[in-house]
Symmetry: C2
Subunit: 162 residues, 2 copies
């Protein structure tokens, strides 16, 4: 069970978009080039962000993406769920229904205890992701990346932002 690589891509792309000045847009082409990713497939991840309402888009030359909210209002969970979906990571197939000792027509009222426990763990994972804001990431990146590389990357992006 491994998350799609699109999740990683979307998170890094949002981190870039978070640094974009008000009203500017960055294209799929620029984002793909910056991260060394296949442009057409990255486009699908960005479309997921768009459908989830996390980013705004414009068409035409100088078109592209910008965040729909401030980085402080965007959580990791928002981004992860936009790409990976909101479905739980454990699906209950109710195999206890196959118990040969079950009386005919017997129907469980409660969710299976196994599923309930697995879903609680799933929720713990989501709660952790919900607690991290995109702005937390950009702060961590600012500390992690050498000042000059940070500055050069910023300029690289601005040159291409419409």
């Amino acid at each position: 069970m491994i998350l799609k690589s699109q999740v990683e891509w979307a998170l890094h792309c949002c981190a870039i978009l978070a640094g974009l000045p008000e009203g500017r847009y960055l294209s799929t082409k620029a984002l793909a080039e910056f991260h060394g990713l296949p442009k057409e497939y990255l486009s699908k991840a960005l479309q997921s962000l768009s459908q989830a309402g996390l980013v705004h888009t414009t068409l035409g030359p100088s078109g592209g993406y910008r965040l729909a909210r401030t980085p402080a209002e965007l959580t990791f969970l928002d981004i992860v769920e936009a790409v990976e979906g909101k479905a739980r990571t454990f699906v209950c197939n109710n195999i206890r229904e196959n118990n040969p000792c079950r009386p005919q027509g017997y129907c469980e009222s409660n969710p299976c205890p196994v599923a309930r426990i697995m879903w609680e763990a799933d929720e713990a994972w989501r709660a952790k992701l919900r607690a991290v804001r995109l702005s937390d990431l950009t702060e961590a990146l600012a500390l992690d990346i050498p000042a000059e590389l940070w500055k050069n990357s910023f300029e690289w992006v601005l040159e291409r932002a419409g």
Copy 2:
């Protein structure tokens, strides 16, 4: 990203094995029949439990599986990781290495901040699973299942346990 159905199967099988009297074994065939699962494929899940040291096996007629520890010493995480593997659910492909602004030969020392956050969420998920013992599940099941069905199932199993 969805866990293998073998995880669900393994958890239910362990719940059954937890009720087995000291020294008795239950076969793949019985476990498959009880849960309505394909015997040959369920066998792979049980082999994973065996390789992880969670269950003991014997061969021959009246052979099968029994828990290697008490239900209080077995956690959900033990079982989930035995089947699903211990690898983290987020893999970092270090796409920041493709940043065109990076100086030649520059090498990151720290793990990528994106990965670090995703791994913390992964660890929260595991911590939750680690906190639940197999004995907690059997207690929950005892409350959930009608007394008669519980008794019948127990007898059904005992008739087939070698």
